[in-house]
Point group: D3
Chain length 307, copies 6
């Protein structure tokens, strides 16, 4: 079972301008082969299909717990996409009833992924940066523990190069923050899968990290997270379960050489996270509606009833 908390894993700054092609680039990290839908899909199905769970508890718990974090990554990138497509807050953004006969959506025709506007009103969907759909071919769940962990290690390394390149295309702080945060957390996951593989096979595969061979200290947006030690933490992302991860991530294992030093630690619960941005309405997109005032009133009454 899964629970939801109405916060993002980290807070995203509001963009200073609408930036549809930046949003489109960010889609690579959402619905691409090495995006967050893929990390989610791989770990989720691997955890469902895991055999001999009780005898392989630390390994099962690692995969099962990271699954929960990955849903939050899908959420984070999606929020980034929607914010970049929406642009800065407008004081009168919630007002409806505009004139639609003068082609107010014309600029959307030239957005690289125009369907994001025509179909989704600027929202995120599970497609890559070329608009191709996420699908089952991006899920590996063989049931063999070594192959699945090795796949996951490779997946996180592959995800890292994608995040780095997407980061390098970004000028808006929203997108840069998404990449910066994910680079830190992705490094943790690559490290964790490497340690799991090392425990089983004896091969010190974590020595391949970081791949690509660039340290996080080159990326300004990563620094606050490194300073907090986020790169040394796995969260259990669970009220009571998955503490067996400590058999892999903890017990004297330490941060990677290129990162701020310190012991790895398994942290209870979830990170503090940040506020979810309240995306403003857009009457041109009929989102939430053309003239939403009445709907707002209804919602306000229902809200009061619910207290």
């Amino acid at each position: 079972m899964f629970m939801r908390i109405d916060r993002l894993q980290t807070e995203l700054p509001v963009p200073k301008r609408q930036d549809p092609n930046a949003a489109a680039a960010l889609q690579e990290l959402l619905g691409g082969k090495y995006g967050e839908m893929s990390t989610l899909g791989n770990y989720m199905f691997q955890s469902f299909n895991f055999r001999s769970k009780s005898k392989l508890r630390p390994f099962y718990s690692l995969v099962a717990s990271i699954t929960a974090e990955e849903i939050g990554h899908v959420e984070l990138v999606s929020n980034g996409v929607a914010m970049l497509n929406a642009g800065p807050d407008k004081p009168d953004g919630e007002l409806g009833g505009q004139d639609i006969s003068d082609a107010p959506y014309e600029p959307m025709q030239d957005a690289r992924l125009a369907a994001a506007f025509l179909s989704n009103g600027g929202g995120a969907t599970p497609v890559n940066s070329n608009g191709a759909s996420w699908n089952v071919d991006m899920v590996t769940t063989t049931g063999n523990v070594v192959i699945d962990l090795l796949h996951n290690f490779h997946l996180e390394c592959g995800a890292r190069i994608h995040k780095l390149r997407v980061y390098e295309t970004m000028t808006e702080p929203t997108g840069r923050e998404v990449c910066g945060y994910l680079l830190v957390r992705g490094s943790v996951h690559a490290h964790a899968y490497a340690l799991a593989l090392k425990k089983i096979t004896g091969v010190a595969i974590e020595k391949m990290l970081p791949t690509p061979n660039i340290n996080l200290d080159k990326i300004p947006e990563c620094q606050k997270y490194l300073a907090e030690g986020v790169h040394r933490r796995l969260y259990r992302f669970s009220p009571d379960d998955y503490s067996e991860i400590a058999g892999i991530w903890a017990n004297g294992e330490v941060a990677l050489p290129g990162d701020p030093p310190g012991e790895l630690e398994l942290v209870d619960g979830v990170p503090e996270g940040g506020r979810i941005h309240d995306l403003m309405g857009d009457a041109r997109a009929f989102s939430p509606e053309y003239a939403p005032e009445e709907m707002f009133e209804i919602a306000s009454k229902l809200y009061k009833k619910s207290r």
Copy 2:
């Protein structure tokens, strides 16, 4: 953010025989257009892309909270698939090292979705009952609240007919239980979206329920859930959030006429749920490994370290 609890939403009985084609039928409820990946994908992206959240809180909270339940549905169906593909527990199931030269996997050639065995060792993946992948075309997130809610209402009705038909193909209790539980919960979701639509539009669309026009009392597996009142409950699936749902689901709204009567209620947290079955290993599938004994030993030591 999302958290994970190491339990299923309901406990599944262990199958009495391996039943690959039943598992394949169940895949329709996992990766089909009207399966749980679709309900998850629709509500997840709608909640991420929701505009004017703060002004439409009860509606946002409804979609956001059900998202969390749906991940658990994906988990439930996936467990059902993996259990039906694995068959009953075998006392010596965890022992490895069998002779693989005498075609021990021959029967898998005739399984309708043979790739489930050849590629996934009997595990679940996001495909439908014909083996076609789940994809973005099964996600609707227009950003318009009425259209999205209407879509969701239709989606839950469509999901119901799929569950009913899959149920009618099942002779193993594992698959029947999956369908029975999902039929009750799916009815709740259809009802909830209907009430949300009624609040906004004034149209009593819940009077279309149940669709198809058959009551849950015809399905033996639903009875214990109805007796407990599961059909009248929405769980918040959150430690602290989404209580605004009570503006829609509660406040004097009552169960559908064909179901046991009573008021609708919003319940804190999650259902008690049931144990996740410990799928036994299968050396033929090299899952978790051909001869996993050493791996078990390593895991056992790591487990002890984690305590």
Copy 3:
């Protein structure tokens, strides 16, 4: 614009038994690369995209008119699929309210394309015999007249080998009739595109026909159509348009050597066709409903009002 007539191009005999795998084989002729969705899709988009229509009228009219016939072919194969999946009429077939708790749909689990039952209640959809979707990769519309006509000629030859093979798998008369009729009409289309190419290029490409190199006289189901001269007729499938086809199909051109001799003729309107079979309801499939009696009554009243 298009009009519809509530008849099939030829009447199909009711199957003597339910035959899901025959229906699945027939799907190749519906949604496969060389199926009727493809012939429809190719000619439809070619006719929409046709340039210099007024200067190339006979060629445009040929493609535009055959488009209309192809929709009817899609209809014919779809009816065949639905009939084979439904099986023979049952006297009490329309009665509803059956017990669904005893796995009445169990045999559908082993149907090759089980989703046809689980999702479509036995109905046809645009997929091939392996359940893969029809899509844009099966449409060629280059806008170059010679290439498009050459593609169409090849497409009809390819369609012919598919029809022949599907025919060879059929024991039920419904499926055999579908194939028999389509073989005759497909031969006409191959012949017509060949003549069109000959007019432009001077190459007597119709001498490649029939391909595969087997005459229709080997197929009992084709004989009544050959006797009627169906192989020599192009219908205009239009109230008033497309008579320019006579510049290509008529004017002394004659039947292929292996077929009954005679001049080719352009026929006004549509063939007489046959009755559409009234598929009986199936309460297990909730199609049209679990207990449709009330719905029948409503429909009956509305019907009377409409008179």
Copy 4:
């Protein structure tokens, strides 16, 4: 069976400039999930698979007849796409033999959907505005009458928001006219499916209309159609069939409140429609040919023969 008439449902003005990205936006209404291929595909297969047709005649006839109109919608959007990709008529447009060595097609490289030019010479194909293919996942045909009608109602509402957004991107009159006409006709279909649902379930779901909540009077291109009463008419699109629709659409039912008032009426046959634009040739695209003069001459002779 289907017949074809060589006219469009409404006449489209010739664009004043070539506008490839407008054409790409229009593709959303052709091959997108809520585009005309989808409405066509849904109603076509639902009508083929309909059970108990004779007992549910008014409902069957509604779906069957609208199918025919939808093929014409596919035609209309396709013509719009091809016209916007072609641009204004050029006096010497039909002349061939130009110099191709100086990159005369260079601007096409930057067209959002460049394959429309490279592969289709500017023609339309069944893809959405991101170039992704239409496919079976966009077809719902469960065989349950309420679910299928509910799906169709939702589909038409979803189609409406897509049309509105695409309209808002358009500056060329060709594309605006396509959207304006389809908005009126789509509203009719949404209304019709709502009434059908109301007849069966008693739920006044037509009160949800219009969705999105904007009246057609905001759209200049709709006004002439509203003035003619096009929003109150269903055409039978058939020489003799489908008159039972009058049980649903007629009999005192009236126009939606936001539209010009009046009774709904079932009209025999088809609308008068407009001329299909004669797309000029483009030697750079080898469409219809590089130097088509000889081909024109041949066609001219064949045309004369056909008279």
Copy 5:
């Protein structure tokens, strides 16, 4: 550039019976995510896209050379599929003109992947064992040498588990031989990519082999190849190029511990290979034709001319 030699990499025994579901299982090794189209596609595009080739010659040459071997693997599996679908040679197999009216192809309806017969006459195509197409999502070419090599190492391990499972389904010697040979060669490739990674990163990742953890000595079909030392050889698969591979594969590196001991060696050219089986014609499949005698005669004359 590539050259072709009219031999298979190893000779395949003719099946003793037609075995369509075995052929369908083998398709997983052809068009599945971990099949030979994928190994080919990955190495081919990586070699095309390789940057700094001249400075990274041994690594480039490794990937470039294995590409050539993989085309031969695609050929080998395809031959296996076609042979299993065709069955044993029949003395009169080449004669044509059979009666097709008595459903001679009926058994093909129940073949798991019936389209292989209906569309391809028993031939192989790039699909997996569920009939889903190979596609770009199965290609990783990031351009980063470590990530690409790591991907390839994981791909070969994943391919190994697929080969093992497919092998375990096989009772016909044709399919077993395909698997046996590929298991030996795939092990070589996994080993080679491991050594390449070790050279760059210093991580002894080859110690993870074999994965899954079963030695080739358990598989009778592998023994003759092990005895010949095939597991210690990389062929250059080139007349003159790629000798730099010896910097990785050779120079004192030795066979894996579970395999017969010995030094690794780079071999000039190609293996001796075996004869390509001369698949007999099948008149029912119109392959090569319904009555091919005349075609044989023509071919015979052309053959003589060519001498």
Copy 6:
């Protein structure tokens, strides 16, 4: 079996500027329906599935041999794509360690197929010019010799119009050279399949050539190849096999009327070809690595060892 030679079929000039949209256009010739992956896939699987090979040797050899040439075409287009995406050589291109925090990859956001950079670092993949994947629907292998040859003839004509249009978009010499070379070779293949069809059917289908109806003398980049007689040559692309092609291509058959006259000839081996360009590294793309100097050093040592 296949061998590889480390040269391109023709040498490509280095582009004078980075031209991502030209690369994207060239992708149509790589992964489009009428691109080189398709010609490769068709002939490769047709040759694997060929029945009665020994009796139809000249036809088998033709298809089998051209397969080998087509892999080289895939290579040629891929090199062109990668070169256009990389742009001109930079003196310091191989140096690494650049500052990545100032959005050095920002222009890639606006590249039409941005994923080519984000995922592939500028490399080629099997997708078309809209980013849609190559797949099995682009492969025809019916096993009927006439249908397959006819398909291939149509495929080469279709490929020709695609090459011509892509050529017309190119201003960089790299892309123009790719198109120019492929136009000459594609014409040879169309001619060859036409002659094969003529031998079997007696139809002089080669008279349809060239299609589109423009001679190669209009394309400056083709002239040097025509002057060398490349349009009259089929290479065996094999050390010892496929000489039976001479029964079709030779023996008095001559060049097409619009091309420089002369006899057709079957040439041993492969064309001389040209150098593969040494694509420079790009630290921003982490390709081959962020700071590859150490990797270069390792490679250099391994290279020396291999001598």
